[in-house]
Symmetry: none
DNA sequence: ACTAAAAATGATTGACAATGACTGTTTGTG
DNA sequence: CACAAACAGTCATTGTCAATCATTTTTAGT
């Protein structure tokens, strides 16, 4: 069995089983313990797995994120409606921050002919913005696999060099006590930086995000206005409304 | 069995089996190991397969119907050949700068599994780099319509925060007296900044660029190594060679 | 049809990568 | 603390690789 073949095999095992021991891997691949260990070392270096005493587990288990493409088909209609509402807040001459992610991507078509200035950390966003002829600035940072978002210290620093009239964020979890949360701490820092540089802050979120809690905290609900479609329970709607402005758009 | 016949056979094997060893290929084609290796080398050069220790696997197929990435088939072959030569200078662990533009884009497939670190100012480059699983950093800057390059003061500043082992540039004009030139002064500044932060500098240019002069000067010929395909007059070749290293790759 | 040049092939080689066995050390558990 | 499992490091062996050369096959020119 070839090296790469074996390593892929280990990865596929992990996808099914969450945690696999070294012994198990030796048996199924017919390779020696040494070899398996070397594979694990390498796979860990490539950030694919996390080694634990006795075996290995997938790096991103609880903090799993669908890629941008997967996201883009689900809730498409909702996203467009939300984006349209968000766009209604934008005024001529505004300087905006667009967070990476599929929700904010839908906002871009509504910016055409608005003479706004946009800063973003999303690679697909930059592409789309210039296609629409919008004045676009991209911040620096490390490009994240999957979502094509720019993150890291340099990203945070770069954001601090701008001031925004309005900031539009996507988010994974909205919770009355835990506030706004997202799976990746790196992305959370970037979002936080953007918030701090902006006058008004908007969060674009479909109803499924409410009540959810992800790993990394971004901010309190009080700091932002939330735009969503209807589909919330009255109870949820009331709890959130106590803490911040909640815009509910009919589908 | 004819050469082409055999190579097609190898490809068909791969489509079924994902990974095929050299030994297997020898058996089914009745060819020697040497011959199979030569086939593999060639198929890899044509970007059809990816060699792994002990065999070969198909190159990632997820980009079968690309958009603007694979646009002009004009000079496509030239660009690939030049890119391949350029890639041969890259060593394990290098930190690289990839200038925006289509020439350097062709370099990316050759970086797969090379454990390099790449900084770029090209938006399509970032996209492609992360698709290939390469550690990628994007600099900040204003996004230029048309080329999707990041330029401006912020871009220049951002570049100065890195050091590169090697820097790969595209260029519009190469002239024995006017040096390297490009139409946009903004882009020229960015290129210059990249050059100043890098140990070794390479310019990727097809023969049509020689003798041309654009508006903004980037650097003198002496500062860079030029990689091109044949198609230059002896006179041109001689003049340039006096000033700098000229790598001429056969088509 | 004949011959020289070019291309393809198979065998060989030294360099290098991958492997499995073995070592002593570290880590978790009772 | 003791003990076994898991670990990283080293070594000899094996497998794989690119480079080279001699031989055969194909192509081109006369």
């Amino acid at each position: 069995m070839l090296t790469i073949e074996r390593q892929n095999f280990i990865l596929s095992l992990l996808k099914k089983k969450d945690i696999v021991t070294v012994k198990e891997m030796c048996e199924v691949t017919k390779a020696s313990e040494s070899t398996i260990r070397r594979d694990l070392t390498e796979l860990e270096k490539q950030q694919h797995i996390k080694r634990v005493h006795g075996g290995a587990s997938l790096l991103k288990k609880k903090r799993e994120e669908p890629t941008l493409l997967e996201k883009s088909t689900v809730n498409q209609r909702e996203k467009v409606v939300i984006a349209q509402k968000a766009a209604s807040f934008i005024e001529e001459g505004d300087s905006l921050y667009l967070d990476a992610g599929s929700s904010t991507l839908e906002l871009i078509p509504f910016l055409q002919n608005k003479s706004v200035m946009v800063v973003t950390n999303g690679i697909p966003h930059v592409q789309m913005l210039i296609e629409y002829g919008i004045e676009t600035y991209c911040i620096s940072g490390k490009a994240k696999e999957g979502t094509a978002a720019l993150v890291g210290t340099k990203a945070v620093e770069a954001i601090k060099e701008y001031r925004f009239d309005k900031c539009f964020l996507g988010i994974n979890g909205i919770h009355s006590e835990q506030g706004l949360t997202t799976p990746d701490p790196e992305e959370a820092s970037v979002k936080r930086a953007a918030l701090s540089q902006s006058q008004s802050n908007y969060v674009l979120a479909d109803p499924a995000k409410f009540g959810e809690v992800s790993f990394a905290n971004v901010a309190d609900l009080a700091n932002v206005q939330i735009i969503t479609t209807d589909g919330l329970s009255n109870e949820q709607q009331e709890t959130i409304s106590k803490q911040t402005t909640l815009e509910v758009v009919p589908l």
